[in-house]
Amino acid sequence: MTWLIWRQHRTEVCVLGLLVGMFGIALLVLGTGAHDLFPDGPARCAGEAGINEACAASFRRLDEEYGYVENLLAAFYLVPVVIGAFLGAPLLARELEDGTWQLAWTQAVPRMRWLAAKLAALAGVTVALTGMFTAVLTWFRQPFDAWEGRFQYDAFDLEGLVPMAYALFAFGVATAAGAILRRSLPAFGVAFGAFLAARMSVALLARPAYATPLTTMEPVPVGGSKDQAGHRPVSSFAGWMIEHGYADATGRRLSWTEYYELEGAANRAGTNLNQFLHARGIQQFEVYHPADRFWTFQLIEAALFVAAAAVLIGVVVWRVRRRMI
């Protein structure tokens, strides 16, 4: 079966391998330059943006020279679905649309063994390719992570465990869609759509709720840089801010309308905004997840997508077992 699986899927595996290789090498080359901006390594500068002059300078150069690359990283959101769907969609669909399932399942290899071998091999390649790419990308992002933390959407979604879980999920959707629709191209399309829908809803709605966020409430400081319009993050720089705002002295949260009225009054009075707020006992609050929850959240989200993938693969196995063509 090994030769057969390779022979049937070698085009997809080679194309994907080539793409991963190309982008991987590009990231390695650019990443080396980015890392070189930090003589002691980017990790040393984590959180030091406002404190250490050398780090601040490094971060400034990072933004100037490599900021554009960070913007392009958003394209890599699609890496898991491209890999997973490319390998999963034709697995059953191509056999069904070409009629070769009648050939494949009447040799001496029982259906279920055939399916198990294919699923294991292609899921394995999916995880391996995605994993290799994620490793390179995580390394590339180290300077940027030192600057912004890892909870940002363009860091969390691209690093750690979750991309492999996403890819496995895409593989599961594509294979199941292929089994039900019996055509590769529509299966690919369904996988893409399902992937985007699932990823967006989980990232925006579910992820903030993996744990109860922490809240800090403290009076608006008198000092503070003027160019931050009245707000300085209280939590550590690498945490994930869910919500922030202002409250009055009793702790009641101010609506943004009320805040703007205060801001307007401060401007009319001609005083510094922070001093104005401080004088009235206004507090600022922040709802956030601390940075050390990164790996917990990674595990939870990865488990979610792997479980979904397992359910989808289970559907495929069940359908083939019951000979529902």
Binding site: M1, W3, L4, R7, Q8, D98, G99, T100, W101, Q102, L103, A104, W105, T106, Q107, A108, V109, P110, R322, R323, I325
Partner: protein, 299 residues
């Protein structure tokens, strides 16, 4: 006949889809060692029945027993005894012929590589061509070589020559019959063409609207049926035996009877019937559930 002398036994087999029953109440006992034709119009359920026989589909009702074992419990050993050639002879079009043979070798317990290569060489089919670039007849030959190389005890073919030109069809049947002559393999194939059956098969199953209407050894069937031609009459028909079909014209009546005697009324003549006409008569019968006409095999 003992169980092992049956190539195929089904008992009340049916297959239901959302839109209705594709196959119903199929009870067959087909002997090993010969060539069996499954005949019926398109949509009669032939492909469904064949897929049930090779285990590609699961029956909704009934059981299917192939070469003595239940088809739903398939192991590599039982799978290797049955070869299947699906309609339109599917192959992996991007594989070369040599790679198709390698596929056969990789997926089967027994695979006679030398036999397959000799066959293909004799037919002039090069091993390094991609299967998709071969002609229809050549693809059919490659698929047949693949199925025969695993040395099955039962070879099932779904409309194997339907899409082939006359020369390719003849060449295909030459190879198939040659394999039967070498011994050991029972062939079951389906066809919607009734024309040249007698030349190739010794056993027949007629399928229409998802039901078996006739099954039996061809020589026995032809011996049991005859055409009775006589003056136009509407009465006394039951005396003639089991009437399969009655055709009336202005002046005379033609009856197709099974195991019947000539009516005593004067002017009646008996004639033998050709296989093609026999099958057509059974295909023209309206599709009500009734016991299939079976002959030639004591079940």
């Amino acid at each position: 006949m003992t169980a092992t002398e049956f190539a195929l036994r089904t008992d009340g087999v049916g297959k239901r889809y959302r839109k209705g029953w594709a196959l119903r109440d199929c009870t067959l006992a087909l002997p090993a060692g010969g060539v069996i034709a499954l005949v019926g119009p398109n949509g009669a359920g032939k492909t469904t029945l064949l897929r049930l026989v090779v285990g590609l589909l699961a029956p909704s009702t009934g059981t299917v027993e192939v070469l003595g074992h239940d088809v739903t419990a398939s192991t590599p050993q039982t799978l290797s005894r049955v070869g299947f050639l699906a309609q339109d002879h599917p192959l992996y079009k991007r594989f070369t012929v040599a790679e198709m043979l390698r596929f056969g070798r990789a997926c089967n317990l027994r695979f006679d590589q030398g036999l397959a290569e000799r066959r293909l060489a004799k037919l002039g089919i090069p091993l390094d061509r991609r299967a998709g670039t071969l002609s229809g007849g050549q693809q059919a030959q490659v698929a047949l070589a693949l199925a025969l190389a695993k040395r099955p005890d039962l070879l099932v073919l779904d409309e194997p020559v339907a899409s082939l030109d006359p020369l390719a069809r003849h060449e295909f049947l030459q190879v198939l019959m040659g394999a039967v002559a070498e011994g050991g393999v029972t062939v079951l194939f389906s066809s919607h063409v009734v024309h040249e059956l007698e030349r190739v098969c010794d056993h027949l199953v007629v399928l229409n609207h998802g039901r078996v209407t006739l099954t039996g050894d061809i020589d026995t069937l032809l011996a049991e049926h005859r055409l009775l031609v006589g003056p136009r009459t509407a009465t006394d028909l039951d005396r003639a035996g089991a009437v399969v079909e009655a055709v009336h014209s202005d002046r005379h009546t033609t009856l197709l009877v099974r195991d019947g005697a000539i009516p005593t009324a004067p002017g009646w003549q008996a004639q033998p019937i050709a296989l093609e006409d026999l099958v057509l008569a059974y295909l023209r019968r309206p599709s009500e559930p009734r016991a299939a006409v079976t002959s030639g095999v004591a079940a």
